[in-house]
Amino acid sequence: MTLLLLGLALGALAAAAAALPVHLRVPVSCLLVAGACVLAFLGAVAELRSGHVSTAHTAALLPMNGIELRLDPLAALFIATTAFVGFAAAIYSIGYAHGPLRSRTAVVSFALFVTSLLCVPAASSVATLLFAWEMMAVTSLLLLLAEHRRRAQALDAARWYGAMTQAGAAAILLGLLLLAAHSGGQDFTAIRAHAPSISIPIRSIAFVLVLLGFASKAGAVPLHVWLPRAHPEAPSPVSALMSGAMVSLGIYGIIRVGGDLLDGGVLWWWLVVLALGVVSALYGALHATASSDLKRLLAYSTIDSMGLVLIGVGAAGALRTTGHPHAATLSMVAALFFVVAHASFKGCLFLAAGAAERATGTRDLDRLGGLARPMAATTVLFCVAALAVIALPPFSGFAGEWLLLQGLLHGFSDTSTATVIALLVGVVALALAAGLTAVAFVKALGIGFLGRPRTQGAAEAREVAPTMRLAMGILALPCLLLGLVPGLVIPMVARAANAGFALPSASPVVPGAGLDLSGFNGAIEPALLAIAIVAGLGAIWMTLRVVANRATRRAEAWGSGREVQTARMQYTATAFGEPLQRVFTDVLRPDNDLEVTHAAESRFYTQAVTYSNRVDDAVERSLYRPVISALAWWGTVARRAQNGSVHRYLAFSFVALVIVLVVLA
């Protein structure tokens, strides 16, 4: 705990570093933030290894409520992942920050943003959790607005983000206050003690409210609308932190309140969580294939990954409440392992996308391409992270997805049909989402980085600053390591899962580098698999050297006899995603309109044909727009009531007086 406190203090110091002159301000503050993350990481890992719970309490801060911190394995796991992504983001922003990002507000906000991210999992009272949560919200809002003068849509994104975060925080506050009211104290230990005595309906209302708040932060579908708007507009290190760390705090919240505080609660809670996961996974993956803006694609893929994690958490909760603790542990460990893996590869992807945007000035895939040669390092790192997302064998995504699949499959031995159906739907969603994610990331990698540069900006791309490449490297490392030797991390993840869901403490995986499930028959040895692949490659290479002709030459690619091939003839991202968009038209509901402008003299000669195809968020269109227009209508109606006439104002008071007198008579 002391290391964590030191880390938080160092983070606050980093915020103070904003007072330095401009050129010194960013490097010093980022290094301090990186230091804070290292301290927090060491504290968390020490906690994960030892497994004992440490607390800290002070009444001097937060008047009338005091601050309560408690570091248990579950909190330690999330702090460790956040610290790791934070460290990389801090290093990255040394090279990345320029222009408005070096202003005092941006530097202070970045430092406080990382500090509050580290503080949220450790909070162990409603006041501390809400304080850190709202600090995270306001600092990320300011960072989102940092570059508003260059990109006008950042303003719109900030408003969506602010409104939805505020609504989410209000839901969490309501849920936790309801629990605190019934357990006579606002700290989590009191709530945990009194939870069994609270009646089921009240616990359900509290859980649903808290679920709404945390699920909107985790990007679950009906509440995800801010995510594809906010992440692309935020500066890249911030969107890496958002996607890597902040989004998983939503998952942390659901596990902490649903599993730890309310002690598992009722079966239908977890079926709702699983359903949210299924819908988010499919919807996110589908929209990822349809979006042609690189960062928007990554944002939707975050929704998809969080959907998969929610499936794991939902399955774990359901299995635990129907009395299958061993299978529940497996699903929970799978979900938490996927969160850790997702933090690293999604962070790396966002940083790489930021590097590409910095070098070419655009993040629209239809205007990128040909970055492999000038930006070799960024392309390789983006490729490693992309292969991890697609869940190919030697990478971390594969180990995560395998564990999730095993968790779901071994839950089928359950008796209650509702759980079995839910798990089946989970497996189907997992399979469908995996396929769609592959399409999305082949598109992102192939069209974004490979092929020929489609615009002048892409052609003049230069490799980015070394610190940025170092940061991407740091995040790409776990994509491989977690994939090769997941067994080393699993015991720590298991300890976190047990702290979260009070499950039997035995780790579901036999100790060792690979993943040999104890109690279920299913195992993979990723390290040996990697060796086999390398051996295969070596063998093929050797045979070819012996047998084949080694001469190679470069020639113009085959254009079916055409003389000159231009870059514009390549497939664009929209074209790449168009077949799938056609297959899933009723879900995506793209609005494509065709305008033909005829020549003046006769209708039979057309002057110009314009075709536009836009895929915007169907959920937003059908769910959020009506609410907003209703509010706006109510605003204009209310404004007419205040029309300025003295008599109307006096009448308001007079009517109030008469009503009160009548009521009292």
Binding site: Q642, G644, S645, H647, F654, V662, A665
Partner: protein, 217 residues
């Protein structure tokens, strides 16, 4: 004993009647004189109570009320009226018959409301409290429905007279310092309103309040 009671009842009744008449008459100049009459009646009630209870402080208050509400306030209002040639009230928001029906309803309501006050201390003075409460409500109604600035000031003063009447009847006057402060405040409010009314008149050229809607959302 009965003389004290009769004078009390007649004066309190007169206060309510004046309030209703201000609602009934449309001519602003007439309303101001009625207000003066109401002030005098209030003074009589205070004086009567003072004599009955031989309370010097209440006697001083009675004289103060007679001076302020009987003389000073009507004087100020007439100064405002001199600047406003058209003395007839433009049609009020609620026509006269409807206003009178509303006044009746308000009087019934005040009787019902005051029943609780009387229940606590059924002395002869307290039994007249509904008259005071009715004056307050009628004055408020006048304030709400009248267009002219002077009529609104009169409405406000009727409300004040109603409250003063209730105060005298219920607790035969609040402690002197509070009574002095209250009447000083009322006087100052009237002065302020009179200054505002004259500047409104000069600025907008008319004393109609319904044009005053520039400030709205």
């Amino acid at each position: 004993m009965t003389l004290y009671l009769e004078v009390l009842e007649i004066a309190a009744g007169a206060v309510l009647v004046c309030a209703v008449v201000t609602l009934w008459r449309r001519d602003v100049r007439a309303i101001v004189t009625i207000l003066a009459v109401q002030g005098v009646c209030l003074g009589i009630v205070a004086g009567d109570l003072a004599i009955h209870q031989r309370d010097l402080a209440l006697g001083a208050t009675a004289l103060l009320v007679l001076a302020a509400k009987g003389l000073v306030v009507p004087l100020l209002l007439r100064r405002v009226l001199r600047k406003d040639p058209r003395s007839r009230e433009t049609t009020p928001l609620v026509n006269i018959p409807a206003s009178l029906v509303a006044a009746a309803a308000l009087i019934v309501l005040s009787y019902v409301v005051s029943s609780k006050i009387i229940a606590l201390d059924p002395s002869p003075a307290t039994r007249l409290v509904p008259l005071g409460v009715a004056t307050v409500l009628v004055g408020y109604f006048l304030l709400v429905t009248r267009q002219r600035t002077v009529s609104q000031i009169v409405g406000l003063l009727v409300v004040d007279n109603g409250i003063a009447l209730v105060t005298f009847l219920v607790t035969s006057g609040v402690p002197l310092i509070v009574e002095l402060g209250a009447s000083l405040d009322v006087l100052l409010v009237v002065v302020v309103l009179q200054v505002l009314a004259t500047s409104l008149g000069s600025r907008f050229g008319s004393f109609e309040l319904d044009e005053l809607t520039e400030l709205h959302d």
